[in-house]
Every structure is written in C-alpha cells, then in structure tokens.
Symmetry: C2
Subunit: 314 residues, 2 copies
C-alpha cells in the first residue's frame, strides 16, 4: 500500500513516485506533461494521465516544481531565503477539491539586489541532505542550474545560472550552429570537453569565450563535431568557477560539492569538477521524492516514518 | 569623376562608396547582398546589382569584410597581429577577371591561446585613426563587437565579443523572450538600460546575470517592455568592463575610448560608457570608406591624395 504519491512537476516533464510507509520509492511514472504542455488549466486531467493506474490510489499527493508557479495549477508563493524545512511546510498550498498539496518555491536576492528564484530544487536539496547537521555546497545542473549553500538543514542562499539554456540556444540559433555538427544533449563528453573545461576554469568574459568556439573551428583547431562539447565544457567550467567564488563569500571553500541529479548533465559537471580538483559526491537520483517525503512527513500529510512502518504493514 | 569605389561587404549587407581624387565620399549605395545572401558564388552579379549605375565606372574597386572569407568571393588569408597598413597592403588579393581587390582580415590569439579574427574592422580602424602617431583604444560595436588597441598606426591586438548576437538569440529563443515585450534593435535606450548598465559594470557571471532579466520581470521589478533594454545595458556594460581589463593588460588605461560606427548600437555603447565615466570620441560614419582609401592609396591602386587632386580635375 502506498503512503504517499510524490510528484516532481516541472516546466516540460512530470514524474510521479509511489512511496511506501517507510518512505521508500516503490514505483515511478513519468509523462511529458510539464506545466507548459498543459492547455487551458487542465491540470486535473494531466495528473490523471500521469498517474495512470495509480489514479484511484487513496494515498495523499504532494508536488513540487513549476506546478506551483503562476503558470501552474495554483500559485504557492515563494518563501524567502534563508529557508528551512518548516518554512516550506508553512508555505504549502492545497489544491481545492483534490488530495494534492503543492510545495512553495524559494526566493533570494543576489549581492547586487537582483532577485533569484527556484521551484523544485529546494525540495531536491531537502532530499539530498540526509544528515541534518551537514554544511554542504550543492550544485543542481539543469537548463537553469542552481548552486546552494546549505547549513544544518537550512538553505542559506542560492544562485542560478542559465548555462544549459544558453548552450542550447547558441548552438541552435547563433553563428556557432553553422560551424558545429549537431550534438546529442545526453552524449558522452569527448576530449574537446576537457579542453573547454580548461578554458572555462580560467578568467574571462563569456561573450568573448563563446566566440572562441567559432574561431577555433574556423582556424581548424576544433572539429565541427567537437564544437558543442568544447562549448559545453567551457560554459560548465565557467559556472563552476564563478559559483566557487560566490560560495567562498558565504564561507564555503568550494573544494567539495554535492551534485544533485542523475542525468547525463550531472556526469558532465562531475567530469569538469574532477578536472578542477573538486571532490564530488553525487546524491541519489530520487532526491525530489525523498525531499517531498520529508516535507509531507513534517506537515503531517503522512505519518512519520517510525510510526508508519507499523501502520503500512497493517 | 570617381577615383575609387570602396565596398564594405559584410555577412548580411554590402555598402559601396564613391570617392573622388581627394578621398572624399561623394555618394553611397547599399543592398542586402551580404555574403550569406549571395547564392552559388554569383558575386559578380551581386556587385553589379549593388553598384547600379556605377557599374560602368572605370574606377578601381576595393572591398573589405566577409567578401574575403572562405565563404566570400575569394579568400584573402588573415594577416597576423600586430598588423600595420603595409601588412594589409601585402595581403591584398585581386579577384581575377575583375577590377576588384580585397583587403585581408586580421587574426590574433588571446591570453589563453584561443584564436580571434576580424574582417572589415581592421579597415574601419585604419579609417578611424587619422593621426598616425595616436595611441588609442577603439571599440567597434556590432553583432560581434571588437575592441582594438592601436598604437602609432599599428593594430597591436584585438578582442571579440558575441554580445550583440547573444542578446538577440536570448530574447528571441530563450525563456527571456516569453517575459519580454518585443524591442526594436534601433530603439532609444530607456531608464531600464541604465539599470542594466549599473549591473553590468559590476563583477559577475553572464549566465547568472542574464537570468536576472527573467527574475526581475517575474518579481514585477522590470516591466515586460523594459527587459530587452535592461539586458542590452547589462551585456554592453559587462563587455565594456571586461574589455577595459583586457586593455589595461596592454598598457591602456581605458579612460578614453574611440567608438567606431554610426548606428543606434554606437549610441547605446556611448551611453553606457558615459555612465562608466569613460571619455568617448565617436569616429566618423565613413570609417570603412576612409580606411579603404588609405589602403588603396598605399597600394598604388589610386594615386596618393596630393598627386590625385590635380589628376582628378583633368
């Protein structure tokens, strides 16, 4: 019997996890039913399609991600940083007429008073921080990657980078695309990736260094099929370098990073970090489900794991 | 009677200038017949279309820009930096069966051994440097803007930035476009431009700061119609900041910059430089024509101005 159905509901995709009374994932469902792919607010139908045969399961549901944004099902307003688990619980929003509760996103302001936001990553971070007294720098690669300083279960501050999306649009829509052979986003990084990393770990201006991908190809120093890899390495490394500087200002030495996620992009970040002599720990791939479980437990949406282990076998 | 027909022949557009025996521009023609818009190598036809009623003029022709690239009419291989006017003359390439001579581009390598190139800007710089003993930092805004250190007529080094193209593709193809009202590229910068400049003149990572345009709009701190302007100011100012650091390494203090060009983009750079307390001189809008005249004169394609003033009245 499922104790909770936990949903990581993003912009393009949605993934549901069934968890038993001990908080263990027993099954998953996924669908390309992200918020931007749901028309006319038909989120109830999208949820039914995502859950499939779980639809009639009486377990409570909890979701994180863009589903709580203004473009989502119901808005769960951002909680201010620094944020702890009880702050996320206090910001939970229930979808009327349903069994679904939505986790709020988190907001902060950078050193120049420019706002920054996350939705979904706060929950992944909660799931990736097992020991509550840890002091850890987290990196969450993605279209808009996030770096987070976490201390004793508290999300102290975070910083977003548009690295992934910039890489994609530059290759697809700029002059770089005319010189580059198409690259699969999930492909294994080759030697050109390492050269790009070496460049990106140094100082520089991204608008100049991006142009370097073009001139290297133009001068025959980078093969067409390596342009995407070089650019990926350069941009990821530049992000790592700058995030390190930022973390340093928060009192983190940046020599150890916990990578949260499980896709090919995480492997690229890990490779770049190894090249930068940063010790990498990779959090489990179910961080969102684990974070949703912790939030649901604290909110009393499910009984706490110790109590529920008896109840779930009944 | 025309002494020279000088052509600035770029990627998207071509502009022809008629010059009299004193090197004065007496007329211009332009057409959207840039290199990428000419099919199947039909450059002779494109030139005839560009010149129109000048087509039968017996004056020699000289061109700079992408017309000398591998994708152009005939390749004029890059000359290495530092480059002087005689180096450009030595690299001139004649188009067989025509009266057209093409100016080579210039190449350099940045501090990290990544190649950089220009085609056309070397000629604009030659035209913008009137006094031969000047020591001046030049900025040439554009899709791929260039900064150049010039000393006594010698192009010491240069640096490219993809600022303009990145701005365009981000607004058109990234998440920023969904939050931004469309902006005309030539529009006057508003107050949001100044806010963006203030942000860009500080330190930071472009992939993070670009994301700031989204979060500012999301939080209601930047109107949809101001996103393009804020992003423009931020990216231009970041380029100015980084180019200043680069120029400093070459022994230029960066407190005075000569802007080369004449379009709306130059006005934006000038506004950002004023905000950064940089003294700005704007070179004449005919810098390419004037540079082509200097090169043609030195090459003996036209007689030198002092001699020709008599000849042209004959």
């Amino acid at each position: 019997m499922n104790a909770l159905i936990a949903i990581d509901w993003g912009t393009t995709a949605a993934r549901a996890y069934a968890l038993d009374g001990a908080g263990t994932v027993t099954g998953t469902r996924s669908a390309p039913l992200g918020v931007q792919n749901v028309q006319d607010g038909r989120f109830a139908e999208a949820l039914a399609a995502l859950l499939g045969d779980w639809h009639d399961d009486p377990a409570p549901r909890i979701a994180c991600g863009m589903i709580g944004s203004r473009q989502g099902w119901i808005e769960a307003p951002y909680v201010a940083c620094p944020a702890q688990l009880p702050d996320l619980v206090a910001g939970l929003v229930h979808v009327p007429g349903s069994r679904l509760t939505i986790v709020p996103g988190v907001r902060t302001r950078d050193a120049y008073d420019v706002p920054d936001v996350m939705r979904g990553e706060e929950t992944q971070i909660a799931g990736a921080i097992a020991a509550r007294d840890e002091r850890v720098l987290c990196a969450l690669p993605g279209t808009h990657s996030k770096w987070a300083c976490v201390d004793a279960g508290r999300l102290v501050d975070f910083l977003s980078f548009m690295t992934g999306e910039m890489w994609g649009v530059l290759l697809k829509h700029s002059i770089l695309g005319r010189l580059a052979a198409p690259a699969a986003e999930g492909s294994e990084p080759g030697p050109a990736f390492g050269s790009g990393v070496a460049r990106g770990l140094g100082p520089g201006n991204l608008a100049h260094d991006v142009f370097g991908a073009r001139t290297l190809a133009l001068m025959g120093e980078l093969a067409a099929e390596d342009v995407a890899d070089w650019l990926s390495g350069m941009m990821i490394a530049r992000e790592i370098r700058n995030a390190g500087t930022w973390a340093h200002r928060h009192g983190y030495d940046g020599a150890r990073v916990r990578l949260v996620g499980a896709d090919a992009l995480v492997a690229r970040y890990a490779a770049a970090m190894h090249q930068a002599d940063i010790a990498v720990e990779v959090a489990g791939s179910n961080a969102a489900a684990q974070g949703l479980w912790r939030i649901a437990t604290l909110a009393g949406i499910v009984s706490s794991p110790t109590k529920s282990s008896g109840a779930s076998s009944a």
